[in-house]
């Protein structure tokens, strides 16, 4: 598939930040809606159970089924890398 253009990831960033905050019960505005906002390693609440709950929240919100075989640890390194993954899935 054609890789998602950065523009579509950028429009997703505020929504993703909000979804992560909600899924992890973080205070609002905890995660700046920017590409380089660090996630894995920088957000202690983001453990494996939280990742699963976030994947499910993404599926519910966008009405899609995410393919775990396309995940890597890098997917969750920043808000931008997660955004790229989600916009690529949405583009299918």
């Amino acid at each position: 598939m054609v890789p998602a253009a950065p523009a579509s990831t950028d429009t997703l960033l505020p929504l993703l930040a909000a979804l992560i905050q909600q899924a992890l019960a973080l205070p609002p505005d905890r995660l700046p809606a920017q590409r380089d906002t660090p996630l894995l390693g920088a957000v202690p609440e983001l453990d494996s159970m939280a990742v699963v709950s976030l994947l499910t929240a993404l599926e519910d919100r966008f009405g899609i089924t995410l393919d775990e075989s396309e995940l890597s640890a890098e997917t969750f390194s920043t808000l931008g890398s997660l955004g790229d993954f989600v916009s690529a899935q949405l583009a299918r």
């Binding site: 894995l40 494996s48 699963v52 709950s53 994947l55 499910t56 075989s69 640890a73």
Partner: protein, 292 residues
Amino acid sequence: MQASLPRVQALYLQAPAGPMFALHHAPAPAGVTPRAAVVFVHALAEEMNKSRRMAALQARALAQAGVAVLQPDLHGCGDSSGDFVDARWPLWLQDVACALAWLQAQHPGAPLWLWGHRAGALLAAQALHAAHGGSAVAGLLLWQPLARGDDALRPWRRMQQVAGLLAGRPPAASLAPATGSGAAATSPGMQAAGYAFHAELLHALQGVQLTPPPAAALQPARPTIWLDLHDPGMPAPTVAPAAAAAWAAAGPLHHASLPGPAFWRSTDIDEVPALIDATTRALLQACPPRHA
């Protein structure tokens, strides 16, 4: 209407697999003839825990409306005997039958209902079969039922895979085998998030679907109340779930999807008053007041 505390009784039933913990909510006011008697069939593992609050609120609301409610903990779950690794689907069916028999004995003549949540809905649907002691059940209440048992296992397999990813293992190596083909009883079970699923339970879950029992001759059609929640950020689904058609053919079906959080898996303990209200209203509509 006298102002009184709700009457809740904690007890152990003698289920075939061992002592089964249950909470009995007596219908209010004291001495009233219950409109119905409902056995709650809880969700699986962590979903059960996260749903305790909603289940308690609903049971209380039903009791206040004159409905008796029994909340048993299935074998290996909650406060019942056994460890989760000892849980088996056939034992759980026996647990539900035991709960139904006990509740009917407490409230003779009251229409018996099964109320299943998530994977518990699958168990409740199977418990309706005459072979599992379900002939006497007058109606079925479903909260967010899973269409297939395998849907209950996907989050657990995903959890294993993600845990492996974060620990630096490549995806293929972190996938635990679910069942071996033709060797289900001897293939390994599954361990995730502190829960140990025995291979037999996995195998049973993979084989179960949300289908109504075959219609028995001379049996009054059982009503089904089916309530789902959808993400409030999404519009309500315009199409009924695929499995609903079979239930609509088996008897009167009331299906609705309300906006609300997926409380059985949310990080916070969420309450959804709209679901409590809708459930109570639908059940009372299906179960008119009775006089002894």
